[in-house]
Structure formats: structure tokens, C-alpha cells
């Protein structure tokens, strides 16, 4: 059975370590914050200038001057700090953020990622995504393995305009956990009840299967 969005987030949350500075993109990545393992304290970075992002506010605490990179109202945690956008991206570009989780339209077996533009649709802009993928030490992509038509989104080569090249390290899809290696997508774990054959069928790029591939334990 394929993972739902929350389960994908839950699997990614296992990567978090105590003291990590974490940047979570819009969509599934945001859900990762709900599954931080017990005893682990991470600090959320929002690229519009906040380290130590908290939950959404209540009607009483809402503040127009306090938003996240998705422009949603948020709060801040004890130990938070605010800063300008140049400093915020100095954190990203300088490799100070420990882990970056973001969504993707497509990922190639070389770790290229396409996530910002679909030709023919309106260009909205890349925001901070290109900076994040170009510089993050550890990039995990949260995505669906296939599109609505059942076509693979894990490809030999991306077909859409790229956000960055050779940068994705790990992918958690609804079907599997994979590492991006020199030789292609290395299958690490599969969703409960999903067979290796199912994953093979859903993956256009090179899929490397070595040894036993355990099921994800949720």
C-alpha cells in the first residue's frame, strides 16, 4: 500500500537528528514538522528571515509581521532570531542548514531536480528553491513516484526546466525510499505491501536493487 502524504513526512522525519537546523519546503515537507521524533529538538529555518519557526498562531497571537516563506502566518519559538534575506541565504548557501526537504515535479537518476516551472503554464518564479538545492548539504525530496497518468517522475533525464543539477541525495516517494548514487536510484526501503516489481515499473530511471529491500516500518 502506497504511503500517504503524512506517512511520507513521517519517514522523512526519521532523518532528523537532535540540534539539526531544518528547512522545510511547501506541501508535504511542511508536514515533516509534525513527526519530529521524541527527544529530538530541531530548529526550523524559514528563508524569509526566521530561525526557530513555531506553529501557526491563534487568532489572539496572529501578527502580520511574522510569516513563513509560504507567506502563512506563524509564531516563533524561544531562542528564535530574525534577520534579513541576505543573511538568511548566507545560512543556506554557506551550508549551515543541516537538512532541506522539498517537493519535486521530477528527479533524474543523476540527482537533477525540476520543481519550479511547467512550460505553457504561468511562470511564478523559483523563489528560494534554486538557492536551496544548489547549496544544501543534505537534500531530501518528498514526492509522488508517478504523476496522475501513472507516468514515472523518477527519470533518466528531467523533461521540465531544472531547479538544480546533481544535488538530490535522497528521495522518499509514496512507494519507496531511495538514495541517489553515481549509478542511479538505489532502492533502500519499500512501502508496506509494495513489491520491488511495482517500484521497478514505476521508475523510468535506473533503479539499483542490491540485497534484501526491507519494508518501511511506520
Amino acid at each position: 500500500m502506497a504511503l500517504d502524504k503524512n506517512q511520507i513526512a513521517q519517514v522523512i522525519a526519521r532523518e532528523l537528528k537532535d540540534g539539526y537546523y531544518v528547512n522545510l519546503g511547501i506541501g508535504i515537507p511542511t508536514l515533516v514538522a509534525n513527526y519530529v521524533p521524541e527527544g529530538i529538538h530541531v530548529i526550523l529555518h524559514s528563508e524569509n528571515g526566521l530561525l526557530g519557526m513555531g506553529q501557526f498562531p491563534t487568532e489572539e497571537t496572529v501578527d502580520a509581521d511574522l510569516i513563513n516563506a509560504g507567506k502563512q502566518t506563524v509564531t516563533y519559538m524561544p531562542g528564535a532570531s530574525f534577520f534579513d534575506s541576505a543573511t538568511s541565504f548566507a545560512m543556506i548557501r554557506g551550508g549551515h542548514v543541516d537538512i532541506t526537504v522539498l517537493g519535486a515535479f521530477e528527479v533524474s537518476e543523476k540527482g537533477d531536480i525540476a520543481s519550479w516551472k511547467v512550460p505553457g503554464k504561468l511562470i511564478k518564479g523559483m523563489g528560494g528553491a534554486m538557492d536551496l538545492v544548489a547549496s544544501a548539504k543534505n537534500i531530501i525530496v518528498a514526492m509522488q513516484h508517478t504523476n496522475k497518468e501513472g507516468q514515472s517522475k523518477l527519470l533518466k533525464e528531467c523533461t521540465l526546466p531544472l531547479t538544480g543539477v546533481n544535488c538530490v541525495k535522497k528521495i522518499v516517494s509514496d512507494l519507496a525510499v531511495m538514495e541517489v548514487t553515481d549509478k542511479g536510484f538505489k532502492l533502500l526501503e519499500r512501502a508496506p505491501g509494495v513489491s520491488i516489481e511495482d517500484i521497478k515499473a514505476a521508475t523510468e530511471g535506473t533503479l539499483i536493487i542490491e540485497g534484501d529491500i526491507p519494508e518501511i516500518i511506520l
Partner: protein
């Protein structure tokens, strides 16, 4: 030394057709509402606007867009704006999109007298087309050039008569660097105090970067995506 003006009407003096103007803010957070509103009442047109976003249909830079006062936008994200889409598809508006961190650093570089610098963002993508690239530490980088503007318009929480500025929370965003990068920088503030009242250890933008300052009025501070805890 007198940098203090009474209102946005006085502050925008000198802004003319076809000038390059930076506007601080991220989405609708920390935008110079008074100055944008005042500009929207003028016939100034052909502006090249440098701003991370372009407001929404009926707020922020959306006002200038609606009036067709903007010739070109230099931004990182221009979604959530139907009029923007219309003008872009009709060829009435030019857009240059840049990665957000590169945009921020290009503006800081403009203010800091650094004409160009290298960043990895955008290499291998269409952002890199036409740009010089070079390897450092085994990784490819793009050469990005500084951005400056005829005028920079920023919004702060508190300011003093010397032009020192303090921002609140995430309303800092692009304001601090843009203040550095304007040939003339206009700062509108929620509260203007005499020099000496702000803590000199807690100034975000030192007054040297600010040529004009005024206390704004009637801040709406519209929220783009109100999101509350359940």
C-alpha cells in the same frame, strides 16, 4: 542634517519615469505601503521595479501594476496575481526572475560596492543562460552582478531622525539590503523617534544608508495567507 519628511508625497519627490526602484518586503509583509500608495496616485510610469514579489491584485505593488506604471519586474516569485499574468502574457510587462538568495545578495553587493560575485544557485538551469560560470572547490558557480537602484523604498518598524532603522520580526527581509543599494533611500516607519532613543547596539540599518525618512500612516498590514492553529 534633516532627513525627516512629513509624508510619502514629499518623500517620492524626484522619482521619474523609467527609473529603477527597489521595494522592500516579502509578499505583503514589510512593504512600504504609504509610498506605494502615493506612487500609484502619480503618472510616473515605465518603472523597473526590483522587489522579491509583486504584491497581489489589490494590494502592494499590485496597485502600480494595475495602473501600468511598471515596465519590468526583477523578482524571485511573482505568483498570486492575475493582473500580472495578464500583462505578462500580453507582452505589456517584462520579468526577470532570479533565485531569491542571489537576488538578496546582488542587492547587498550593490550597496556594499561589490560589482560581482560567484554563487552556485542556478548553475545548469535556465537562470544560468548567458551568465559566466566557473568552478570553485569542485563545484560550478555563476557570476552574478550587483544591483543598485535610483531609489530604494523600505519600510521599518522604528526609525530615528538620523535614519537608523529597526525592523520587526520577518518584516526585515529585503528591506535592510535595499536600504544599502538605493542611490536615494526612502524609509517609511511606523514610529519615528528623535536620534538617541534607539539602542545603538540594536540598529538593523545604520542611518548612513537612509536619505529620507517619514512616519507612515494607516498601515493596513494585510495578511496574504492567514493560517491559524487548529
Amino acid at each position: 542634517m534633516n532627513k525627516v519628511l512629513n509624508n510619502a508625497y514629499e518623500a517620492i519627490k524626484g522619482i521619474e519615469d523609467n527609473m529603477t526602484v527597489m521595494f522592500g518586503g516579502f509578499g505583503l509583509c514589510g512593504i512600504p505601503e504609504n509610498t506605494i500608495m502615493e506612487l500609484s496616485k502619480t503618472n510616473i510610469k515605465g518603472l523597473i521595479c526590483i522587489s522579491n514579489n509583486c504584491g497581489v491584485d489589490d494590494f502592494g505593488l499590485g496597485f502600480l501594476l494595475r495602473n501600468k506604471q511598471i515596465k519590468k519586474m526583477i523578482s524571485s516569485y511573482v505568483g498570486e496575481n492575475a493582473e500580472f499574468e495578464r500583462q505578462l502574457l500580453n507582452g505589456e510587462l517584462e520579468v526577470e526572475l532570479l533565485p531569491q538568495g542571489s537576488l538578496a545578495e546582488k542587492i547587498r553587493a550593490g550597496g556594499a560596492g561589490i560589482p560581482a560575485f560567484y554563487v552556485p544557485a542556478g548553475y545548469g538551469t535556465e537562470v544560468g543562460i548567458g551568465k559566466e560560470s566557473r568552478e570553485f572547490n569542485g563545484k560550478m558557480h555563476l557570476l552574478e552582478h550587483a544591483l543598485t537602484a535610483d531609489y530604494a523604498v523600505v519600510k521599518a518598524w522604528k526609525g530615528d531622525t538620523h535614519g537608523n532603522l529597526i525592523y520587526k520580526h520577518t518584516a526585515n527581509n529585503f528591506n535592510n539590503m535595499m536600504a544599502m543599494a538605493g542611490k536615494i533611500t526612502i524609509a517609511e516607519v511606523e514610529e519615528l523617534v528623535p536620534a538617541g532613543e534607539l539602542d545603538p547596539n540594536c540598529i538593523h540599518t545604520p542611518g548612513i544608508f537612509v536619505q529620507r525618512i517619514f512616519q507612515g500612516v494607516n498601515y493596513e498590514k494585510r495578511i496574504e495567507k492567514l493560517t491559524l492553529s487548529k
